[in-house]
Point group: C2
Chain length 229, copies 2
């Protein structure tokens, strides 16, 4: 199985930053390393790219092997190759990120990961390698993204309240938004349909229900906009 | 010098899409390959990453070696690793892109490149490997970028006319813009300073000169906006 090359080659890995949203906050999926280096430390799921698989397939395989999570829409984040970032040897990693509805994904640790778990992004433990930096880059990208593209279609139920939508933005942006201002802006964006229905079975005062106008939502996704919040 | 590894590894390269702007249109810097595969075909400058250099250093070195161009601000574009994209073996490439003022850069072919030259982007020859696709991705990124960030500071002279600025946008977007509409929007953006001067030594009617308000320009670069043109 061993191979000889004329010149030394960097090793190539993939790492995945999977963000999960629930009723409370923005979480990130981490695994606890079972092997050295950084044995026992938490890290992003990831691993070595096989010579015959695409980068995205490698990311998907590692995610499944280490956390049990299957279907997620991964976007490429950045490739990091700073010499010295891995104590073993030169390792270049292609980082991917995804945003999923937390309740859709049951996780279980497998292969060389001791453990897999969701952590609140702003309460994550110090990570192995330069994974803290990769996580920060992914969070920054996500925050940037919600300013140019609508979010929520894959994350909210088909009928939702403005409170739920605001919560989603607050979780991603990690700050409290002014309710009136948020509502004015999100409605002006023109992607919501007022269903003329209200919530049922809620303890608090029932709120109006909305859905996304998928056509307008998709157009906004293609065109982009600037949502100043 | 040869090295043995336990498992086969993809080779790792960098490729550079350097866009150049001149008075006419958007150009791209290409090299003519001197060696197989694709000997004689035009391609993006690039090559193998050394095991001890960062990805960006590798991109900069290859650019210098193959085209003689030294100082450019490279941004990472995307990493492409589709199996089969190189007929020799599995090669993963990290693509970078840059936008430079054409007149600042004299090029000369070197090392394994037979030739180096600027081509109009919409009149480029068919490229080696999947470089057509990488060029298209970079052009798309650049087009997207001008919708969210100001451009021109590094590309225009310190004092410029609105015609020059419009020309720059037209070259990047590859379409004609309505003059009145462009002027209205660019002025509303608030990054221009009217210098209360006019052009001298021009054959056509002398136009007003502007400069960028660097503070506002930088703020817009950080914050982003939506320039709908």
């Amino acid at each position: 199985m061993s191979v000889t090359y004329e010149y030394p080659r960097p090793a190539l890995t993939v790492d995945c930053v999977v963000f999960g949203l629930d009723a409370e906050d923005l979480k990130v999926l981490l695994i606890q390393r079972g092997i050295e280096p950084f044995a026992g430390r938490w890290a992003l799921p990831g691993g070595f790219v096989r010579v015959d698989e695409s980068l995205e397939d490698a990311a998907r395989r590692e995610l499944r092997e280490e956390t049990g999570i299957g279907e997620v829409f991964l976007e490429q984040l950045y490739t990091i190759g700073t010499p010295g970032r891995d104590p073993r040897e030169r390792v270049v990693t292609v980082a991917y990120y995804a945003l999923v509805k937390l309740s859709d994904h049951t996780i279980r640790a497998a292969t060389d990961a001791r453990n897999a778990a969701w952590f609140a992004v702003d309460d994550a433990p110090p990570l192995a390698f330069d994974h803290d930096r990769i996580l920060a880059m992914a969070h920054e990208r996500l925050r940037g993204k919600v300013r140019y593209r609508p979010i929520g279609f894959e994350l909210l139920p088909p009928k939702f309240t403005l409170r739920q939508l605001q919560h989603l933005y607050e979780a991603v942006l990690d700050r409290t938004l002014d309710k009136r201002n948020f509502r004015k802006k999100i409605i002006r964006m023109g992607i919501l349909v007022d269903l003329d229905e209200i919530e049922t079975d809620v303890a608090h005062r029932a709120a109006r229900l909305y859905s996304f106008d998928k056509k307008k939502y998709d157009r906004m996704t293609r065109q982009g906009f600037n949502f100043e919040i």
